[in-house]
Structures are given as C-alpha cells and as structure tokens.
C-alpha cells in the first residue's frame, strides 16, 4: 500500500477507510504483531535491568515541566549561547516559514544535495517536498527513512519508520531505484539490503553540500543540540557537509546538560528498550579555528507551528513528549491498524493529541476520528517516559469534538439522547431493563450468541457477544450494600 501525497494535516484523514484496509493487509498484520510482542518482551527485560526506572521517569517529567514553564527564558538563553559559538538561530512561526528558511540557507550556499538525518519535524512541515520543488535533492540517511523516501511513503512509527514493510518490499524498491546495479544481484536477506544501502548512502554523505538534522533537545546553558541515533548517520550529517542546519520544535529546550542527560536516561529505554542508543551527541556550534573537521556554518531553525498556542491551552502536557514512540509500540489500536491508518505524521495516542493541535488552528475538524481511535486501556500513559496523561487528553478532545459539532449529526443525536436519559435515573433504569430483555430475546433466536444488532450493523459486523447475564452494576452494588447492612 503506497501512500502518495506528503501528509497534509489540513486534509481529512479518512481513518475508518484506512483502518479497514490495514486490517485486511496480512503483511502489515504480521509486522505489527511482531513489533508489539517483541516490544512487550524486551521492555520487561529492560525494566529488570534498571530498578530506578520510575524515579528516572519522574525526574525526566519534572525536567520537561520545568522546560515548559521557562520556555521563553530558555529559548532566549539558547539563542545567545548559539551566537557565542558563531551559530545562527532562525525563528519560524509555521511550516511555510520553516521550509522557506531552510531552502533559503541551502540556496545561499549553492546547495544541490542535502543529506538528512531523521527528523519528525521535517515530516511535519513536509520539508523534502519543498526542497525538491526548489531543485535541491534531499537524501534521507536513516535506513528506514531512506527506504520510505524511495517508496514515497511517510513513516508509520516515530522510531521504527519502516516497521510496516517486509524485506521483499524493500528489495523491490532497491531494484527499482538503484538502476546502475546488476539486476540479477542477490537481495534476499537483511544483510544484503543493508550492504547495498550503506554503499549508496556513503557516497551521498560525501557529496552533500548541506547536512540537516533534527534535535532531541536544545541545551540553553551551552547552546548545544542533542542528537540521538543508533546508525551514526546524524554524526556524519553534522560533520561532513560544509553547512549544518538543525530544525527543531521550540518545545525541545532544556536548561542544562544534566537536564538533557535526564532525557537520555529514559529516551532509548522507552523507544527501543536499549540502555542508550549507540550515538548520543552534543553538537555545539560550527567548526572551531583549529578543528580537524566540521561545518563552516551552523544554523538552528526553531519552529513553532502551533506549539506556543498549545502551550497556553489544555493540551500543553503533550509538549513534554520526547518522541520515543512507546505509546505507539504498546497501543492496541496502533497494533491493529498501524501508523498509516491515522493519516497523520504522528500516529498512535500521541498523534491523536498532537495532530489536532499542531499546524494551523482548527485542526480537530480533520483529525476528529483520531481521539476516537482508542480503547482507553491506559497503557500509553503507563509507559510514557514523561507521564503524559494521554487518555485524559484524548477524552478532552472527544468533548471538544462534540462541542464543536465535529461529529456526525446522528452521533450528536445519540449522545444528546443518552445525556438526556442519564439525567433521569428511573427512566434510564427502565430503558436498561428493556434493552437487556431485548438482547436476551435476540440471543435466544440466534442460538445463544448475538451476531448482529439492529441499527448497529456496522459496529456488530466484527463483534459477536453473549447475552447479558445477571444484574447491572448498579443492581449488584445495591444488593451488596443491602447484604452488608443486614
């Protein structure tokens, strides 16, 4: 399943249709089962190695809260310290300004090719399309992102972007794209694919005029950026080309190196269940007078794109996010439909909260399905390294969607009718008794199991359930109270 267009957060992501297609895709289902089974197993082993993990999460949460409460001061301090190292900070209100700024820097140095390391923000602002339109060739160097770039796809997971693909699909796109290779070459296993990608990308690193990275944190105290990778691609991207541009969301600032290390201690453990990634780098400015290598100019492009608005509102806690993807790796809905079904850059529980809030105001209209895509099991909040209350935030988005009339007219009427009845306990109980009676009759005529419901054929198409037995919760409660008092 190839998604053409770059993700556009203003277009309506047709979640129900995409989810249905995903459920019928056996390759995707196999990949998702493997992801979630292994993640659960490996996370348990990780927790066994680090008994202080909950304390480390509390500390990282406090660090990120401190960042959000001092963001104005930290950003100004960061800018001052970057200037002292000879770097330049750019401020961009939205995706268009950010793309213009990056393209402008590339044009000014006459760049033809740009080597990129993985950046979710770059996906959020659709930077690659913008660069290509300006005749600048962007090359993704993270292996997963490189594969997706060849397939014209977006990432389906924050830290495992190509998790939805199998090795055969990757071999196919390598054959299609690497036309100067022998068509009969062996690409039958992961090692052969990796060797070919390494050779292709090595030349791209050496040829690139500009290197673009994201950043996992901005350190106000030193003017440094934090870069976390396993492949080492970010370290080549910031060292080999003559110009280094880091594009970063404004919420990523932390006060000190200690704060950045508090983030490091929970990031890889939550993302991949590793103790720490292979490369955790602090980049401070451009090449110094005597340095043996490094870029001659260093730019940091700070991007708002809805973040300052979010900071002032009820969803500010989601700005603590450090983009580990743990909420995706454990979410049962993500596990059933995968990342692309969400039709947004950020999938899963965190995506359900970020997507309506980032970009231009009023994003909930297009993203109204996303907070509905939750079973409210609470695992996302349980694993979040910075304790974002994702279920509560999604519940609030559902309320917003109702108030903004962003749900169907039939849906609004149902909810209004339920609300009216719920305020009249006697009537509500009567309705419930009639409902239970009807369900029992329905089960009897269909042989014990209810397979389809009148007026809810779509909902019951994938669900069978038994007739209700015993009493309701309220009845059981009252019975117990009577027993206890007698």
């Amino acid at each position: 399943m190839i998604m053409d267009a770059a993700p556009d957060q203003s277009s309506a992501p047709d979640f129900p249709a995409r989810a249905a297609a995903a459920l019928a895709d056996p390759t995707l289902q196999g990949a998702l089962t493997k992801l979630q089974t292994e993640f659960r197993r490996d996370r348990a082993a990780m927790l066994g190695r680090i008994p202080e993990f909950d304390q480390l999460r509390d500390h990282a949460t406090a660090i990120r809260n401190h960042s959000l409460a001092h963001l104005d001061e930290l950003l100004e301090q960061f800018e001052t310290n970057v200037s002292l190292t000879g770097g330049i900070v750019h401020w961009c209100r939205n995706a268009a300004e950010a793309c213009e700024t990056v393209t402008g820097i590339c044009r000014a140095v006459g760049a033809e090719t740009v080597a990129k390391s993985k950046s979710m923000l770059s996906e959020e602002i659709a930077l690659n399309d913008h660069l290509a339109a300006a005749s600048i060739e962007p090359v993704e160097t993270d292996l997963g992102e490189y594969i997706l770039q060849l397939r014209h796809e977006t990432p389906s997971h924050i830290v495992m972007p190509a998790i939805h693909l199998n090795a055969g699909q990757i071999a196919d796109v390598f054959r299609e794209a690497h036309t100067d290779h022998d068509p009969a070459r062996y690409l039958g296993d992961a090692d052969a694919l990796l060797a070919e990608a390494r050779a292709m990308l090595r030349q791209k690193f050496l040829d690139a005029d500009v290197g673009i990275t994201g950043a996992n944190a901005l350190i106000a105290d030193t003017g440094s950026i934090l870069l976390v990778t396993n492949e080492g691609n970010a370290d080549l991207v910031h060292s080999l080309p003559k110009t280094h541009i880091a594009i970063v969301g404004i919420e990523k600032a932390v006060a000190t190196l200690d704060g950045a290390m508090a983030v490091v201690r929970v990031l890889a453990r939550s993302a991949t269940t590793q103790e720490v990634t292979s490369y955790t780098t602090l980049v401070t400015g451009k090449r110094r007078a005597n340095d043996a290598d490094g870029p001659s100019s260093f730019h940091v492009v700070l991007v708002d794109n809805g973040r300052s608005r979010m900071l002032a509102g009820p969803y500010a806690e989601a700005l603590r996010c450090i983009r580990c993807g743990a909420c995706q790796s454990l979410c049962p809905v993500y596990g059933a439909v995968g990342g692309h079904a969400y039709g947004a850059v950020y999938a899963g529980p965190i995506g359900a909260v970020l997507t309506p809030n980032l970009g231009a105001p009023g994003g909930l209209g297009a993203a109204r399905h996303l907070p509905q895509a939750s079973s409210f099991c609470g695992q996302c909040e349980e694993v979040c390294p910075v304790r974002i209350p994702l279920p509560a935030l999604m519940r609030r988005l559902r309320e917003d969607a109702f108030e903004d009339r962003q749900i169907t007219v039939a849906g609004q009427k149902w909810i209004a009718a339920w609300g009216w009845a719920a305020q009249r306990p006697a009537l509500y109980r009567l309705g419930r008794r009639i409902g239970i009676l009807m369900l029992r009759i329905l089960a009897k005529v269909s042989g014990g199991t209810i397979r389809t419901l009148p007026l809810a054929g779509g909902w019951s198409a994938t669900r069978d359930f038994p007739a209700p037995e015993g009493g309701s919760f309220v009845e059981l409660w009252n019975r117990r109270k009577r027993r206890e008092s007698s």
Partner: protein, 215 residues
C-alpha cells in the same frame, strides 16, 4: 509587521509565565542535580567491571592492556583476528601518535583525516562511563569527528584513570567550553529498520574495540 521571533517569544512568554505563576515546584527538581541510578555509582573497581560488562552488552569488545607500549601489538593482533586490513588512520593526538608503532611494522599508520576507503581508525576517549558501558569522545584539533563514525572498525584507547560512573561526571571532564562535537558512543552502529532485525554497521563502525589501558 512584528518579527517571527517577537511573535513566538511573546506567545511563549504569556503561556510559560502563567505556568510559573501557577506552580513553580518543577524548578527545584530540575535545578537540584541529577538522579543517578545505582549502577552509575561505586568504587573504582566496581565501575571498571561494570563498564566492561555494559560495553560488551552493547556489542563492543573490551581488551585490557597492561601499559601503553603494548597497544600497537594488541591492535595488530586484534586486526589479524577480527578485521581485514593493516592500515590505520590515527587521531593526531600526541598520546596516540607517539605510541611505539615502529615495533609492529605490519601496521601502516597515518595520523589525520579519514578517507572514504579507510577501514580502521584509532582515537582516544575523554572518559569511559560505567552506567551504560559508553565512551565519551570529543572532536577537536587532533581528532576529526569523522574518525568516530566513518570507518568499519573503530579502536578506542581508554585510560583506566578516566573511568567514571555517570554521563554527568564524564561531561564535567570536558571543562568549561564544549567541543564542537561530543559523543557518547555505546557499541557499534546499529539498526533494526528491516523487519525489526538487529543489524550492525549501518553507516558507522561494524566493530567497536576498546583497549582499556592500565599503565
């Protein structure tokens, strides 16, 4: 028209100052020093053992060398055992260039910048970190950052006296001014992007070999 900088900062200031006014409790926690796991703490012998254990867990190899003079011989033996080629590009660090390379004529050593076809590099490390078996390396006049990530084999010389417990203690060794690039390296370059299969040597080294030098 106001600038993007002014617009963003004023919006952030309104929101952040409201948060500061409502609850400033995060301030004390965030400025109160790091929370260190137990494994980042201990006496030198414990830290050293934990470093070796954690570095191996991350996929690095660790070899103890009694003194500096034995380093070239140990590297020659390692290369003939594990990695093809006898050519080494060295960091121009006097501590490394001055090792008795002449005693192992098999090795062709060249200090300076790595070239695209170099297969093995030798650098020093600022510190070893017991917490995760990481090395802190820094770029500078003597050490091109590319030496840490361009070659298939990266050999790192770590002095036993530079062993530390935590990231923070290691960073403190950099002094007041941060180098352009400081990297915690933990094991070789890796990915799991193809069907979640763990693979090593994506862009950077396939092998990370640490020589822990006692003398």
């Amino acid at each position: 028209m106001s600038s993007a900088r002014d617009d963003i900062l004023s919006a952030v200031r309104r929101a952040s100052s409201a948060k500061r006014a409502a609850d400033n409790s995060a301030n004390d926690i965030a400025t109160g020093g790091p929370i260190l796991p137990a494994r980042a703490q201990g006496i030198p012998g414990e830290l050293r053992n934990r470093f070796c254990e954690m570095a191996r867990f991350a996929g690095a190899t660790v070899e103890i060398v009694a003194d500096r003079d034995r380093v070239p011989g140990a590297i020659a033996a390692y290369l003939s055992r594990e990695a093809p080629g006898d050519r080494l590009v060295l960091a121009s660090d006097p501590q490394i260039v001055s090792l008795p390379w002449g005693a192992t004529p098999r090795l062709q050593v060249r200090p300076g910048l790595p070239l695209a076809d170099d297969t093995a590099s030798v650098t020093g490390a600022v510190a070893g970190i017991a917490e995760t078996g990481s090395l802190l390396v820094a770029s500078g006049a003597a050490t091109a950052n590319a030496l840490h990530v361009l070659c298939e084999t990266h050999i790192v010389l770590l002095r036993a006296q530079d062993m530390r417990g935590s990231y923070e203690e290691a960073l403190a060794m950099l002094g007041a001014k941060m180098p352009r690039a400081a990297t915690f390296i933990t094991g070789p370059s890796r990915t799991a992007d193809i069907e979640k299969t763990p693979q090593i040597g994506v862009h950077g080294p396939k092998r990370l070999h640490i020589l822990l030098i006692d003398g």
